[in-house]
Point group: C2
Chain length 419, copies 2
């Protein structure tokens, strides 16, 4: 325990020192590092797969479930896509140093804002080893230093990827400590990381809800977090019904286990009879379990009864709750009560209702006539994504490079003093 404290303190100090150098690193040096890491990962694919095999063997012995083992396993294909991801990050514009809104003030000074890195970012994740490369790349490009703490089940894989990252940084003339991958599986390391206020500026946990909830609870460093994805689609009485059916189908059934999948469908009472039976058929054919209120169940008899708990549940599974609402007000009320403020969509052709929905629904992504599945950094054009925030301060929704930065004020004077 005392050793871990000592080790993490050193990691923190090294990260802080490296962050000063990274904040000044040229775009060119950062892009070179990213290219170098990509190359190193490809050149070392055999070694990466061999190291990963140790993790996978241990995971099997420890009886890890098939889905987790799948996420843990590295293949030629996942290694290629790690390298490709790093090259895509290199191709993104460098935001650091960008100056905006430089304006003269009556005193004669010019005041503007300069985009700067946050400093040191701690990332805590679970079994996917590709997060190591991905998170390192995003932090590096945004001029931050990163401390990465992956799941203990991926320790060999992560250390092997870390070697590639360190080499890529060194070869580009950047400090190796700009990315540090924690080399202990001791959980005490996480406790230190999330409370080292002097050395860590923000924590981004990536993983299951319980991990994130625990970290937010215990952290004293600010956390950019993603909790539930309880997403809604509301089919308005003035919806174009073919669009509504297409969107409601896609939002639920395109992928079930993702945070931007719809979990609750709200349907305006006056069109429910026109859309729900047809939608019910689609869902049931795809094996989606339906749970509805009484009005919905009348239209789709195979539907089970939804309980209060259903409105608050992120199924991440082929289950959908359905509720009939009288009007837009009821829909917005339901969403602002039960939504996890992640992503909610209205289907309507009515301009005023679309505008009201956009304004009044208090979620990170609010949509009109589009599937909730679009809530994603790539689809939004951010180029890459470190996570999706359901917080309200700093960053809402998909967090790309910009979310890992902030703006400081700059003042350009010519000798002005305050009078």
């Amino acid at each position: 325990m005392e050793n871990i404290k000592q080790y993490m303190l050193q990691v923190g100090q090294q990260a802080r020192a490296a962050s000063r150098l990274m904040a000044q690193a040229s775009t060119n040096a950062k892009n070179h590092a990213l290219e170098n890491i990509a190359t190193a990962i490809l050149l070392n694919s055999t070694k990466l797969i061999a190291e990963n095999a140790k993790d996978v063997a241990a995971a099997k012995q420890n009886g890890l479930d098939a889905a987790s083992i799948d996420r843990l396993t590295l293949t030629e294909k996942t290694i290629n896509s790690m390298a490709e991801g790093l090259r895509q990050i290199a191709a993104l514009p460098d935001l650091i140093g960008e100056i905006n809104d430089l304006k003269f003030r009556p005193s004669g000074i010019q005041v503007g804002k300069m985009r700067v890195p946050l400093g040191v970012i701690g990332i805590i994740y679970e079994s996917r080893p590709n997060v190591t490369a991905d998170a390192a790349g995003l932090c590096l490009k945004s001029g931050n230093a990163a401390i990465l703490r992956g799941g203990s089940e991926a320790i060999f894989s992560n250390q092997a990827i870390a070697e590639c990252v360190y080499r890529g940084l060194r070869e580009a003339g950047l400090p190796q400590n700009a990315v540090q991958v924690i080399n202990t599986t001791d959980r005490a390391a996480v406790g230190e990381l999330i409370t080292m206020k002097d050395y860590v500026d923000v924590i981004v946990p990536r993983g299951g809800k319980s991990l994130i909830a625990r970290i937010s609870e215990e952290a004293s460093v600010p956390v950019i977090k993603h909790l539930d994805g309880i997403c809604h689609v509301y089919i308005d009485d003035e919806a174009d019904l073919p669009k509504a059916i297409r969107i409601a189908d896609n939002a639920k059934t395109h992928r079930y286990g993702v945070c931007n999948a719809m979990e609750t469908l709200l349907v305006n009472a006056s069109v429910a009879a026109q859309v729900l039976p047809e939608l019910g058929k689609i869902y049931l054919n795809k094996g989606v379990e339906l749970r509805g209120d009484e009005a919905a169940r009348t239209l789709v008899p195979q539907m089970k009864t939804a309980t209060e708990e259903d409105w608050r549940t992120e199924y991440l599974a082929p289950i959908l709750s359905v509720r009939i609402v009288a009007n837009l007000d009821e829909a917005i009320d339901h969403i602002n009560t039960y939504s996890s403020q992640h992503t909610d969509s209205i289907v309507t052709e009515n301009y005023s209702k679309a505008m009201r929905f956009l304004r009044e629904v208090d979620s990170a992504s609010v949509m009109v006539n589009a599937s909730t599945r679009f809530a994603d950094g790539f689809e939004y054009g951010l180029g890459a994504e470190i996570g999706i925030s359901t917080d309200k301060i700093h960053a809402r929704g998909p967090v790309g490079l910009e979310g890992l930065t902030s703006q400081k004020f700059i003042v350009l004077g010519s000798g002005q003093i305050r009078v």
Copy 2:
């Protein structure tokens, strides 16, 4: 204690409900409310002064120091400036609902960002009753609901101002609970306020360092905070010396007790002999105590010896620490080590050094050839200021209306689904 919990829970729930309505309130209604409150404050000045007199009498009886009593006291003049402040906030543009960067994506959806209120803002402050009107005005204009907790010594004044605020809100057709002024002096109310995550989105403490440090320590709600203001001026060897002397004088002596006053002066060794004796004379004539390193003391013999502690101290008083540095690197190193990341300024005519200082100094405000005293919401053109943040996420430096908002993503589609 149980009663306070109950009371604060109710306050929180009312604030959350009011915040929904405030987020949709029209610019017109918000401006009307601000005008109404200003008018009510002016019409009730006699009553405000009478209620304030009770606080002042109690404060005197309790032996409060003269400076605190001065901050506590309301006069016709301070009442007029409260009303004027509210009218200035009414005149500021409404940021809420502003849509930026709406762009088409290859999928056909349009993605942009809409500026939205944070929701419920808790403000904790000390004895100045004018903060009640000021903070209420800023939260109201930015579409937030506010919970205000002023110092117990100002309880009568704050409740009297609160009556004006409530009336102004009601008369504009806005929910009275959009601003709630806590009516108990029980400290347990603060403990509740800073941990009601479900009902409060952000806490802004305004006051002394110990108040802010304690609140940040104990809060589970995010805090926008301002700790020290250890500000630096660095006089470069390529400085225009008359400018340097003017700025170094102003930054220290314009006002002593403010967070953007200079506390440490750094002087390049090769110009120290030219500027320090003259500056020393100016400071000593104004009664500023000087504490320097050995090299500085050689040039100004009246200077005391600065200790390591001096570099870390925000004097808020006529005391200045002075250090001679060999070059820009040493200056930046000193600042990034000892600065509180509030405001730091370089005086130089050299372009490259100015650019390096702007980029490499990791503070909320970084200046070239200007007095640190300009770090202020009004001087920056924010129109008003709820505080100055020394945090790195969400907002750095002076926090105006924009700092009380965030941006959500909006997606405008025409039936798009993810393929």
